[in-house]
Amino acid sequence: MSYKHLARLLTGVAATLSLLLLVACSPIEKQAYRVAVGGHAFLMSIQSAHPECNDPKTETKLCTILRQASAAHNLLVDAGKIYCTGGDFMGGGACHPPSKKDPAYQVAADKLQAALTNYEQLESDLRGAYK
């Protein structure tokens, strides 16, 4: 079994695990969190397999999409944190989403959904570029 074959197998399994974690119907913050968990493993595996992308001068399609997906992933994390900011969240407590009666709820939910959709599209693009 060659190194490249193993790397592709690993990437495929990581993507499958990500999908498995997504199957259950969940509140948006859990969906976002699980996509972020799977995305973290996926992106780190691609980054490890392509260290040449660490050079800013390398502008291959794969490196470009990898940078965009990594930035989108971090935006998803930020949006998730913003959505969860309530109660004792900033003091180390669990996620505390805003009440649906709170005027800030829809704004935070829309931003989280947009970040989620954006990341998922870029992850899909990255998978396409990696084949």
Partner: protein, 90 residues
């Protein structure tokens, strides 16, 4: 990781817990397969990382620290700091 760990992950028997348990088992199986196949250590380490991530986040209370731990470096850029906390959106 042990069978007990796996059982604990699926112990709650909610659909989500069962799925996480399944993902954990598949990941563990992959690590075992790669080890027996004498795969390069970095591949085994990457697979183990996936399993560890699943295990670590199985009980996802989604604290700020857990969210922050998911941030990734952006290749070709200096590491960025976590965004400042913003209460309730803007």
């Amino acid at each position: 990781m042990s069978t007990n760990d796996t059982s604990a992950l699926a112990g709650a028997l909610s659909p989500e817990s069962v799925l996480i348990g399944l993902a954990f088992n598949l990941g563990s199986l992959l690590v075992s397969h790669l080890t027996h196949a004498k795969a390069p250590q970095e591949i085994i380490d990457a697979a183990q990382k996936v399993v560890t991530d699943i295990e670590a986040h199985a009980q996802d209370t989604m604290t700020a620290a857990q969210w922050d731990a998911l941030r990734v470096p952006i290749p070709g850029q200096a590491p960025d700091a976590p965004a400042p906390a913003i209460g309730g959106g803007s």
